[in-house]
């Protein structure tokens, strides 16, 4: 007998865990003025001044506690914002909320009071597309400079127009060098970054200090914005987009990113992937995850130990082995470009036995190395004093901010798309989702270390499967048309579990061979948003440690 109260059944959820969209439509009542069919889930069209009402109802009564992404786009006759909603308990239960706004007055009610994570998403939508959100607490540009003119993903944007702005009109980072009176104590403003040893790239954290303690932080991003979405919109589905994902999370998570695009495009165009290719994908993706987590561990130790730590080099030494295996497989060490729609670029390297042996050797050595990390890092008393109970992120807050991946799992939020929304070969394999309940920096590190072990389990099973796969069935590529032209107005939002969390892709086709809108939901972007919650009242070293524990890659934050 369970002492827990039975969970109140969410509106629209049927007994077998499916969604009844008619019930949802009934719940929304007058608010829903229309219904659209997207490939991933139906979406309800909502008037721009009733956004909060609709989101509130879906969140409170239908249990959609996870705002995965906000996509904005401009049509010939209107602007449109799409809120992609999911549930943390079951991410396959999805629904969209579409908010059309007129071209001459693209003003829509903000969703920020309902989902905290909408803050940054809506700022990005405003910045790049030009939709304005009424009631938004802080509607500024987020990726582009404050002085930018026009909205680059809008239809009438003129890329030829020079964006020449006098130096004096740019925000001067030293200008705010004034003491902010908080009433109780004097505070000091300090710029952590964009050039700082511990920001893991070009990140600028505007920090207000009271002595050594953090009063407020505000991450300032966009230094590495490379128009990835727009570049993808200019590439053809079949071949030209696949190289880009490697460049989002560029620290060796390449194949995980490629899979996000591959999954979305394959679902959109209804392409099958042969099982053999799925196993190879699963194996290579998990290798990437190990490489990525090793890097996360190494750089985190750099932040907590100091810049002469041995752990950093140890992590790189072990990551190097993974990189060599991936190089044998894909021919590349960083920008793999290995996945293809409907399969992979080529099969396993010959001789196959040598490749299997190399991979197995790595897996055999791994437990010993993990023991070393636990000796050196996680069981060190000073490390524990530094990391336990610092940078706390309670599960409710993590959900509000749309945190995913090890950051969410370190807060005890049990979500992993590999298990919850299976793709590839994951549901055929035996492995576990790792969660820790500490909600602190320590838990996040522990989750990553334990995930390496789980990934190793997956790789081992994949290697066994591949080794015994009958020779005549080793198909690495299904038949895919030379030119892909999905039906006009097909829309899809699909995510995969990348190294940092849910990496989602939204695509809309207009009948041509290139996507009309390509939107990337970056896990680092959402995870970084939680930094403020984690660090207020903590010390400077904890800010650095929390930043490290988020494991952000600026290439993916800024895209």
């Amino acid at each position: 007998m369970s002492l827990e109260e039975p969970r109140p059944t969410d509106v629209g959820e049927t007994a077998d865990g499916e969604l009844d969209y008619d019930a949802l439509e009934a719940l929304l009542g007058e608010t829903a003025i229309d219904r659209e069919e997207h490939v991933n889930a139906p979406a309800f069209v909502v008037r721009p001044d009733e956004v909060q009402e609709a989101l509130e109802a879906l969140r409170e009564q239908a249990g959609f506690d996870y705002l995965s992404c906000v996509t904005a786009q401009e049509y010939a006759d209107r602007y449109e914002s799409i809120y992609h909603l999911k549930k943390y308990d079951d991410p396959t239960q999805e629904v969209g909320v579409v908010v059309p706004t007129p071209t001459d007055e693209p003003v829509s009610q903000t969703g920020e009071p309902v989902y905290r994570t909408a803050d940054w998403h809506e700022r990005e939508a405003y910045d790049l597309v030009g939709v304005e959100y009424e009631g938004h607490p802080d509607l500024r540009r987020i990726l582009l400079p404050e002085t930018w003119q026009g909205h680059p993903l809008g239809r009438d944007y003129d890329p030829e127009k020079p964006q020449v702005v006098p130096f004096r009109e740019h925000a001067n980072p030293l200008e705010e060098d004034a003491r902010v009176e908080t009433g109780e104590a004097d505070t000091m403003f300090i710029n952590v970054g964009p050039h700082h040893p511990a920001t893991h790239g070009v990140l600028h954290v505007k920090t207000v200090l009271d002595g050594e303690q953090i009063v407020d932080v505000e991450p300032d991003i966009g230094y590495l914005h490379r128009c990835e979405e727009q570049m993808c919109q200019q590439g053809t589905y079949r071949h030209q987009i696949m190289p880009y994902p490697d460049r989002w999370d560029y620290v060796s998570a390449g194949i995980l990113n490629e899979w996000a695009y591959a999954r979305a495009a394959e679902d959109m165009a209804d392409i099958d992937v042969p099982d053999y290719a799925q196993v190879i994908r699963t194996m290579s993706a998990e290798l990437c995850r190990i490489a990525s987590h090793m890097l996360a561990l190494g750089t985190f130790c750099l932040d907590v130990f100091g810049d002469f730590t041995a752990t950093f080099q140890y992590a790189f030494r072990d990551r190097e082995v993974v990189q060599n295996i991936l190089e044998d497989l894909t021919g590349q060490r960083l920008m793999f470009n290995y996945l293809r729609l409907g399969g992979v670029a080529w099969g396993l390297p010959e001789p196959r036995e040598e490749f299997f042996e190399k991979t197995r050797d790595f897996l055999d050595d791994l437990p010993e190395k993990m023991k070393e990390y636990h000796n050196l890092v996680t069981s060190n008393e000073i490390f524990q004093v530094r990391c336990v109970d610092t940078g706390e992120l309670p599960p409710a807050v993590a959900k509000q901010y749309g945190a995913t991946g090890p950051v969410a799992r370190g807060s005890g939020v049990d979500i992993d798309l590999r298990r919850d929304d299976p793709y590839g070969y994951y549901d055929e394999l035996d492995w576990d989702v790792v969660t820790e309940d500490g909600c602190d920096n320590y838990s996040r590190v522990l989750v990553r270390l334990r995930e390496v072990e789980e990934s190793a389990k997956i790789i081992e099973q994949c290697v066994d499967l591949l080794a015994e796969w009958p020779e005549e069935e080793r198909t690495i590529q299904s038949n895919v048309p030379r030119t892909l032209k999905p039906d006009p107005d097909t829309e899809i939002y699909r995510g995969v579990e990348a190294a940092k969390g849910e990496l989602g892709i939204y695509m809309r086709s207009d009948g041509t061979d290139k996507p009309a809108r390509f939107k990337i939901r970056s896990p680092c972007f959402c995870n970084l948003h939680t930094l403020r919650e984690m660090t207020q009242g903590e010390y400077i070293p904890d800010l650095i440690a929390s930043l490290g524990s988020l494991d952000i890659v600026l290439g993916e934050v800024d895209r």
């Binding site: 040893p197 511990a198 050594e212 100091g306 060190n380 004093v385 530094r386 010390y539 070293p541």
Partner: protein, 349 residues
């Protein structure tokens, strides 16, 4: 009163100058010799040995292209560092900012004046030798504050303030532990402290164990090693610099020669820490077969190696945690150590 010590006398005798003039010339030449020895050790340690040691801890090779085993990197680095532009940031507090690097290097060098290094290499031997060492070594804290405050940089200021907080937290335990050694030796004079450790403590299987205070009171030795790590600012106590947190702390704005001086000062400080430990706990220059000066240098390098080891292996504490360790841990333990030693020495005597 300065007491005559072997080295200036020897030099004066060699030069054939007697009286006051002889003492002055001998002292100056001796100081130059010892200073050169320490600077040479620093030159070897900074650009080369430190890199090699860290590399050994972290599975790398480090410098190996310039000269045999990369040794000529010392010359290359010297040229490189001295030829760099000295950038003076806007708004620095000029005299203080300029004096700080000099003061840092100088305060550490001064300490070596009273350290007996064996083979008659001993510049001065005042009765209050130990107090003198701690006094001049503490001047470094002043230099750190000057550097931090004078740099007109917020990171530097945070570093400078951290340095003060850290100094207050470790300096008292450091002196208290040293006082427990003084209780054993009955003298503050460095030569007396060394002489007191020469007596045999016990004989195990034909090997005579000298009464080094590291053997007599290992607890005080361990405490002093930790306090010394705080003094020289190495992991887990490299908080005033904390390169991944506050960029480089008080030395953020220094470049070129000033940077070299600060670095020099840090390394000499580590060596001075090693020299104090060798003198107080490891019998000074005592050791079999080899001449005393070599043993002494070996002991200093052993302590240096220990700091590098700690740096490669240990995480850094947070500043508030360091203050806790200093005031609630080290101070209490060192007081207990002092009281216990006093009782034991009192009973034995």
């Amino acid at each position: 009163m300065l007491q005559t010590a072997p080295l200036p006398d020897t030099i004066a005798d060699l030069l054939g100058i007697g009286g006051t003039l002889g003492a002055v010339v001998g002292g100056l030449v001796g100081a130059a010799l010892i200073g050169t020895l320490m600077l040479t050790m620093t030159a070897v340690a900074g650009p080369w040995a430190k890199r090699k040691i860290t590399a050994a801890f972290t599975d790398r090779y480090a410098v190996n292209r310039v000269g045999p085993a990369g040794l000529l990197i010392i010359a290359a680095d010297a040229v490189r560092l001295l030829s760099k532009e000295l950038i003076v940031p806007e708004g620095v507090d000029r005299p203080a900012w300029d004096i700080a690097p000099l003061l840092l290097a100088w305060s550490a060098l001064l300490g070596f004046a009273v350290i007996p290094m064996g083979n008659g290499i001993h510049l001065a031997d005042p009765e209050i030798g130990l107090v003198y060492v701690f006094a001049v070594a503490s001047i470094a804290s002043l230099a750190l504050v000057m550097a931090g405050y004078g740099s007109n940089n917020k990171y530097s200021m945070l570093g400078g303030l951290r340095a003060v907080a850290q100094n207050l937290a470790y300096e008292i335990p450091l002196v208290l532990i040293a006082a427990s050694v003084v209780l054993f030796s009955g003298s503050l004079q460095m030569s007396e402290i060394v002489a007191a450790q020469a007596e045999p403590l016990a004989s195990v299987a034909g090997v005579t164990v000298p009464s080094w205070y590291a053997f007599v009171n290992p607890f005080a030795f361990a405490l002093f090693m930790i306090a010394n790590l705080m003094e020289v600012g190495r992991n887990p106590f490299d908080i005033p610099e904390a390169p991944t947190e506050i960029v480089a702390g008080y030395q953020t704005e220094y470049s070129s020669v000033y940077f070299v001086l600060i670095y020099l000062g840090e390394f000499i400080h580590i060596f001075l820490g090693g020299a104090i430990i060798a003198t107080l706990f490891l019998g000074g220059p005592a050791g079999p077969v080899l001449p005393g000066i070599l043993w002494f240098i070996a002991k200093i390098w052993a302590v240096f190696l220990f700091t590098q080891w700690a740096r490669s292996a240990l995480p850094r504490l947070r500043i508030d945690q360091l203050i806790q360790v200093g005031w609630k841990g080290m101070l209490v333990l060192s007081l207990a150590n002092l009281l216990l030693t006093a009782v034991i020495v009192g009973v034995i005597a």
